[in-house]
Symmetry: C2
Subunit: 403 residues, 2 copies
């Protein structure tokens, strides 16, 4: 059996729900279980990630083609009991949907003709949730408001929130359907605060392994920690408090790109802003995309190959006390803003063991010295504690809510 | 060579541009030309449709996973000469991009790492364009404003326009990139009037052949004319005036679905509104999805199996003097509207030989008697003349502009 993403195969399961899908696309069938023809890509619909596990799905799994992000605020009357009910409902719905099954009684048939399509549903808790449910004492220490950064232009209506949800899949209707299901399950318990949708490359659109290209045309994510690397878990997953062990902190920023300004900049100047070649992502110090950047390399005239204010120099872990995070961003394109310019950019998502040693020091440096920052505008922000995964039969947050 | 959509294979070409893509996904390579392994789906990126041909691409080709629609108004000073220049630039850009090639001098590398991803770019002319360029005498007779329909709630800012563009592909970044390229090519010649984006199922998400499911959960498009059927061209393509022979009229309606109301309706009542079973699309008179609806069938108690106000009865060609059109709609989901409800629904697109014998009589009946109409709100509208395709070396609209 060939999983399309070998490095993430722990969770990847070729599903049984979409046997009919696979049959039409060249995957062989054995006893209702889809097996990919040797070397061939399995049908997109059959890609399945388990909902249950030590960590929630939607962190180490590769970005899907489509994402829906949303925050919810708990109803004033819901309290801890309401939160428990909500997380039970949401977890049960997410578990069914990620298997490619309909929610009992829903009479929805989206799942009946599509496979799971790599659906993941990930839940996070904002700081305000703990106060609202009398759980302040259990709030993870690092779940405190992010500091203000110079040039932030944040819209509170699209920031923060008691609960955070990430729904990703390779088919937009599967995402829409899962989002509707969560909205229905939240009725009376929580109301949606904001929603954003984004996209990444479609499976099969590009040669693998290829780093995602963002709306500026740059390869984005070259230096991301790789699942399976020896220090990966230490960078991404928290170890405490007890109920939160195996969880992760998620920083979300809606970063608008000033694309008209960017596109007017000649490619060689764009490359000096980033510190990498646009075509292949190689650092300007030489090599190929995954060659480590040599921050000391100089041109024959003595100038730095990677300029002093280049994005990759300022953001380099070496320059930030080893700070690292797992970026899992998506592009967004929401038409034209009120200013007549593209309302488009990056839904920056970064999972990390501790934001005080991840996003915060890096963003402090970027906001001050990064040549790229004049082409970006941070328009929304949130920090959430993403609980560990639920075991079979459990729900996300159970360790906190019944601990 | 296996084309994934046999019925549309006239135009389908497995591309050469994305050889590297195919190699990573199990397609064999022979002299730079991608060949699918027998029975296996070709890599999504390699799917290619020719820009040139007797009809424009993006009409008979199946809906791609992602679409960008936009209208432009010609700059006041552009005139016929400016329009000619614009259509030459746009056609050249579209032709390169649909081959999966970069536009010379653009320094964009999206195309370099993705194949064409089934990109089509389709252009249309609104009635206002003809007056603005002194071409009123050449305006096709049927390109007159659509009549007002009861219950229309049209936003003029998102309706009409001198020029209409449809960009479809199976990868969202390819669509975004093509849209940016057309915007750049329009600089000084035309300004964007509105834009909308939509989606359909991702290739491989569902078993084929399967009709698209819309946001209401219904199979939508069962009775669509099929390319290759004997009367297909007569329904879809116009025969005159001379410059327009082989063109088509496109009606676009942004149809918001009142999903909260719809979802509150029990499934059996939803089915009576539509006249089909939700799960498999079979008409309520019996059979399977493609069984012709028997409009006279009765239940044992003498009531109609397909209710008198069911959508498929009112819209049936038999009830509308044989009116038919090729629907090629996409779903849209733009978050929450100012009224707090989903701003989501259908970007209805219908190509037809003559709107006076296609959309207009059908919509007149639907607006009066269709049980479905109370769950829909038409919020934007446009009618455009989609010129015939350009021959190799030519550009779209050349027959009009140099005729």
């Amino acid at each position: 059996m060939t999983a399309p993403q070998q490095q993430f195969s722990r969770r990847a399961v070729l599903g049984t729900a979409a046997a009919g899908v696979a049959a039409g696309l060249g995957a062989g069938l054995t006893g209702g279980r889809a097996l990919a023809v040797d070397g061939a890509a399995p049908a997109l619909g059959t890609q399945q990630y388990a909902f249950h596990g030590p960590h929630q799905a939607g962190i180490v799994e590769p970005q899907q083609a489509k994402v829906q992000l949303a925050a919810f605020d708990l109803a004033p009357t819901a309290g801890r009991q309401g939160l428990r009910e909500l997380m039970r409902h949401w977890s049960a719905a997410a578990e069914r949907l990620t298997r490619g099954e309909a929610i009992p009684g829903s009479e929805d048939f989206v799942a009946a003709d599509a496979g799971p399509c790599a659906l993941t549903v990930t839940f996070g808790f904002g700081a305000s949730l703990f106060d609202r449910t009398g759980l302040t004492a259990s709030r993870p220490a690092a779940l405190t408001p992010l500091p203000a950064f110079p040039e932030d232009a944040l819209d509170p209506a699209r920031s923060d929130g008691d609960l955070w949800v990430q729904i990703g899949a390779d088919d937009a209707l599967v995402v829409f359907h899962a989002h509707r299901a969560l909205l229905r399950a939240a009725a009376g318990l929580a109301t949606q605060r904001w929603q954003m949708s984004g996209f990444s490359r479609s499976p099969g659109a590009t040669a693998k392994p290829l780093t995602t290209r963002n709306l500026m045309g740059q390869l984005d994510g070259t230096n991301n920690p790789r699942p399976g690397a020896k220090d990966f878990d230490g960078k991404v997953f928290a170890t405490g408090p007890d109920w939160f062990a195996g969880g992760s902190y998620l920083v979300q920023r809606r970063i608008r790109m000033l694309l008209d300004n960017w596109d007017n900049l000649p490619t060689d100047r764009q490359e000096r802003v980033i510190g990498r070649r646009k075509q292949d992502g190689a650092p300007l110090s030489g090599g190929t995309e995954h060659t480590p950047a040599d921050l000391t390399a100089q041109h024959p005239d003595g100038t730095l190959a990677i300029p002093a204010d280049a994005h990759i120099r300022i953001a380099a872990p070496a320059a930030n006390g080893g700070a690292a995070m797992l970026r899992r961003g998506f592009s967004y394109a929401d038409g034209t803003g009120p200013d007549g310019r593209p309302d488009a950019g990056l839904l920056f998502l970064a999972f990390q063991a501790d934001p005080a040693h991840g996003f915060v020091p890096v963003q402090r440096r970027l906001a001050r010295g990064d040549s790229l920052s004049r082409f970006l505008r941070h328009e929304a922000s949130g920090l959430y504690a993403v609980p560990p995964g639920a075991p079979e039969g459990g729900y996300v947050g159970q360790q906190l809510l019944e601990g």
